[in-house]
């Protein structure tokens, strides 16, 4: 990896995500990604379902009967996350929606709602140790000068090996095409010193783009701020350079366990164990060699001299 410029990435602060999906739309538009299904899932407002070949930003919606701010902290200054509690009360007066459960929950309690609605915009993590890149047999996946991971579509041969290699379930093959596609962190825009489309479109700065070191500092400060404001659930995900993938180029501030958002709790780059795997395969190959040598050694010579052909020839 030869980063000639500063490594850049995303910090997605899900505590200020409002679920507008501007990032999804901007990504689709800028990268000219084809449509990949128009179904209504019933999964809150999420009809995109997950990252894939033609979904490079995905906004997750999670409905929980749990206050954003625990009871013990209510009444104190709550910072900018307050809008979530207020926002869920507002539709009640309109009465237009037909989600009784939500309203019932929202109506409970006086200070803050018992309902919380988590939203999070997921994206390729651009891992420091990227399994997709490691296992790609063609060199189609490569590390850019910005430290990001990009697929070269003219080299990808559609083997699909990167797909199960990704510990986050990001990269995927397009069914009609067979080749693999994923977020490029807008490689074309970075070359022109432009902000990636999703970050540019985000109205709340939930998606922040910039040099990774700077983002990590900003994220640490934000978590502290949220903890002070009484949101003990706030935690960073993918920020640690010592984690199983060497840290993510795109990391997150989450308000619950990663798996709640569909993220793996402890992802590990599969190639970390590759030397051990080759060693095991070598041992198995030697076992095979030894076993078959033994099979011949214990069988002696065939009875060719006594075969009818041999006799006839004499």
């Amino acid at each position: 990896m030869t980063a000639t410029v500063e490594r850049v990435g995303f910090f997605t602060d899900t505590s200020v995500c409002i679920g507008c999906k501007a990032c999804e739309v901007a990504c689709k538009e800028w990268n000219a990604i084809p449509e990949d299904g128009m179904e209504l899932t019933g999964m809150s407002y999420d009809n995109t379902q997950g990252l894939g070949a033609s979904t490079w930003r995905h906004v997750a919606f999670i409905e929980q009967s749990k206050p954003v701010v625990p009871k013990t902290h209510q009444g104190r200054h709550q910072g900018e996350h307050q809008h979530q509690g207020d926002g869920s009360r507002n539709p009640q007066s309109e009465g237009a929606e037909d989600d009784a459960d939500v309203f019932a929950l929202a109506a409970q309690g006086s200070g803050s709602s018992e309902l919380r609605w988590l939203m999070s915009s997921d994206v390729c993590k651009h891992c420091t140790h990227a399994a997709c890149l490691d296992v790609c047999p063609t060199g189609s996946l490569f590390r850019t000068e910005f430290g990001t991971v990009v697929v070269q579509e003219d080299i990808c041969n559609g083997c699909g090996y990167c797909v199960p290699a990704c510990p986050y379930g990001v990269i995927e093959q397009r069914p009609d095409d067979g080749r693999a596609f994923k977020c490029t962190l807008c490689y074309d825009r970075l070359g022109e010193s432009q902000t990636p489309a999703c970050a540019k479109a985000c109205p709340t700065e939930s998606i922040q783009y910039g040099p990774l070191d700077e983002l990590r500092e900003r994220a640490a400060a934000r978590v502290e701020e949220l903890h002070r404001a009484g949101v003990p659930d706030a935690r960073l995900y993918g920020h640690d350079p010592d984690d199983g993938v060497g840290g993510d180029g795109a990391f997150f501030l989450l308000l619950d366990e990663p798996e709640v958002y569909g993220l793996p709790p402890d992802p590990v780059v599969t190639t970390r164990d590759l030397p051990a795997m080759w060693k095991q395969a070598g041992a198995a190959a030697l076992t095979l060699l030894g076993g078959l040598a033994a099979a011949f050694a214990t069988s002696g010579k065939p009875k060719t001299t006594r075969s009818p052909f041999a006799r006839r020839r004499l």
Partner: protein, 335 residues
């Protein structure tokens, strides 16, 4: 996707996607959606690629052994088998790419971190050797070169038979990755059983003794490695026991054991029974490869197999870090 959001309630490990027979796998997921993506791999292409590669690799060893010990019929049949099998294995892989011309990019670079790249080069080296050995044997042309090719193919054969296990393991697929210690031995055993089965099918009685011994060895190796893998995999092992993968793995066990034992008992006296046990061994090997493939698929499709082992790993790490004096140790599983 009809299930309600699974994310309500308390923070640590609670509800799960759907009811299963295993009650201890409590975990949280995003609407039961898989965390990992599944490749567009066709079971017959990839299962066939595994099976044929194994058959070819172990077959070249039998061919070399048979050549060295003057078993000409077995030698020739195994050389031909290996050539046809490796061609079929490559064809299955190429077919799975969608467009055959794309295969050329496989040989664009040699990447040690990619078992598929290493495997492609291995096939590129092994294929011509196996082919040369077969052609020389059949035509009698260049016997010296034929012997060299036979030896070369036998040298690469064990690698051809086992690298596909690394290929599968080197992914985030829990059933494959977590079994990386045993999977090469499972594949080596299965490959031996398949090659020995072909030898029993094609070689005359007076030549087939090493094949009978090899079948016993392969069946024993596969059974032992599979058993060890399943006992070490924890909850992920259930994907090798349930559903389609479970049926395939059980069929493999029965077919391989029956083929090896029947071959050993009667294959030296009865040509028909030798052929029958050979066919059973081949079928068993096909079932093993397809079973492993489908077990991997099952672990990709259910977030349980991603979340639960990773949670356990995290808890173990936390426990190790805060061993002596922490009253805030993670709660033990209620089940």
């Amino acid at each position: 996707m009809t299930t309600a959001p699974l994310n309500g309630g308390k923070r640590r490990r609670k509800r799960r996607g759907e009811q299963t027979v295993v009650p201890d796998a409590e975990f949280t997921s995003y609407y039961g959606k898989p965390i990992l993506n599944t490749p567009e791999w066709k079971p017959l292409n990839i299962g066939g690629y595994f099976f044929l590669g194994g058959l070819a690799g172990a077959g070249s060893l039998l061919a070399a052994g048979a050549t060295a010990t003057q078993r000409p019929v077995m030698a020739r049949s195994m050389k031909i088998t290996s050539t046809v099998a490796i061609a079929g294995s490559a064809a299955a892989l190429i077919h799975d790419l969608g467009k055959p011309a794309r295969f050329a990019n496989m040989l664009r670079v040699l990447k040690p971190t990619s078992p598929m790249s290493v495997g492609s080069w291995l096939l590129a080296a092994y294929g011509p050797l196996a082919g040369a050995a077969a052609i020389s044997d059949m035509t009698g042309v260049l016997p010296r070169a034929g012997h060299t090719a036979t030896a070369g193919a036998a040298l690469l054969g064990p690698a051809v038979a086992t690298y596909t296990a690394v290929l599968a393991s080197d992914t985030a697929t829990p059933a494959w990755h977590d079994g990386y210690r045993e999977l090469p031995f499972v594949f080596a055993g299965s490959a031996t059983a398949a090659a020995a089965g072909t030898a029993l099918l094609t070689a005359p009685l007076r030549e087939n003794r090493p094949a009978r011994h090899a079948a016993l060895f392969g069946a024993a190796l596969e059974a032992a490695a599979t058993h060890r893998m399943e006992s070490r995999l924890g909850m992920v092992a259930e994907t090798y026991r349930e559903g389609l993968a479970g049926r395939l793995m059980r069929s493999a066990k029965v077919l391989t054991a029956a083929g090896a034992l029947a071959g050993a008992a009667t294959g030296g006296r009865n040509r028909g029974l030798a052929a029958l046990s050979g066919a059973a061994l081949l079928a068993g090997s096909v079932c093993t490869r397809l079973g492993v493939f489908h077990a991997g698929r099952a672990t990709l499709a259910d977030p349980k197999y991603t979340v639960v082992p990773q949670r356990e790993r995290l808890r173990a790490r936390e426990a190790a870090q805060s061993t002596p004096a922490t009253d805030h140790a993670p709660p033990t599983d209620p089940t």
